[in-house]
Symmetry: C2
Subunit: 196 residues, 2 copies
């Protein structure tokens, strides 16, 4: 087999979720059917590694010093929403219900994977939240065990510094039928019930 091909297969295995068989299939596919795509991916990777950095304020990926969202003068600077990933931020943006700023952790606390407070930039978050303008921090980490633990940890950290901290509401999803919602969610929705 060709050396360049082995090198390519090995490099493709660096992608998350790609094992030896998939890597080989990808390499064959690119060389056999999509050399243009391979060249394009090569350029895209090179360009992204060169150009993409973290926003000095919110920590998301950007090609500038400060990202577009943080530079947006129309946003409410008193609100700071903490999310795990840029994808989560995008989901919240799509709801059109939030007009404040963001802080992107780029991860979550996960002691088992060796991901501690430093890896999710909590020092940077504390500094950002204590700029004197931010009045409320909305924790929008995932509602997984790790996301909840991360939210709890950040909450303690920021409340100790006198900041108001809130968490996205948990409950029955919109359109959800009780019959098909898990008991934990219903229990939480019962506890958090609102008077109408």
């Amino acid at each position: 087999m060709a050396t360049s091909l082995e090198f390519l297969t090995e490099a493709l295995r660096r992608l998350p979720g790609v094992g030896p068989k998939s890597a080989q299939r990808m390499a064959y596919h690119l060389l056999q059917h999509d050399r243009e795509g391979a060249a394009m991916l090569s350029r895209a990777l090179f360009q992204a590694v060169e150009a993409v950095h973290h926003c000095a304020l919110c920590n998301t990926f950007t090609e500038d010093e400060i990202c577009g969202t943080c530079r947006d003068e129309d946003r409410d600077k008193r609100m700071l929403c903490v999310v795990e990933t840029p994808a989560d931020q995008m989901m919240i943006e799509q709801t059109l219900t939030y007009k404040g700023l963001y802080f992107v952790l780029m991860g979550r606390l996960s002691p088992l994977d060796g991901i501690g407070p430093k890896d999710i930039h909590l020092e940077k978050l504390v500094e950002r939240a204590n700029d004197g303008v931010v009045g409320e921090v909305v924790l929008a980490t995932n509602f997984t065990n790790e996301g909840e633990a991360t939210a709890h940890y950040i909450s303690e950290l920021l409340k100790a510094r006198g900041l108001k901290v809130s968490r996205l509401a948990r409950g029955v999803p919109v359109g959800g039928e009780l019959e098909y919602v898990d008991a934990g969610t219903i229990a939480r929705a019962m506890l958090d019930r609102r008077t109408t």
Copy 2:
């Protein structure tokens, strides 16, 4: 979001089996945790696109005009084994039971996907098999519907030119328990039974 990031996500979708969500996850992972891997993959893709071509004889991927297997003087030039992919060739090599040469189709006939005889280089195969030295062509395409159809098509093509054509035996896998083997395989094994 950054333009380089969007470009990278789009380029990652060119990989087989990678949808929008996976592409985004891969892009985030590379930029956040493995920029070295991203740079390596970029180089590997560039290098492979530049260097890897098809062997003039057996059609497999190689960086030379003729691949190492075809150049190997110790191989039996009277035998030609037809496989779908280089991975299949490697599996056969690992058995150490075959010392002839190969022809790699780089695919299989699949009318539904628009893959016809030209796409799997059957003209090149016919020319190759009619070099006056090859005496037997062993069809080792997969035992899927498409692989079987491909084998049948090639068989007719080569037999019409007076070549001896054989097919890998079908039957119960080594170590297979009849109870767990499908009826079609057992039926085939019964038809192809051998006197001992």
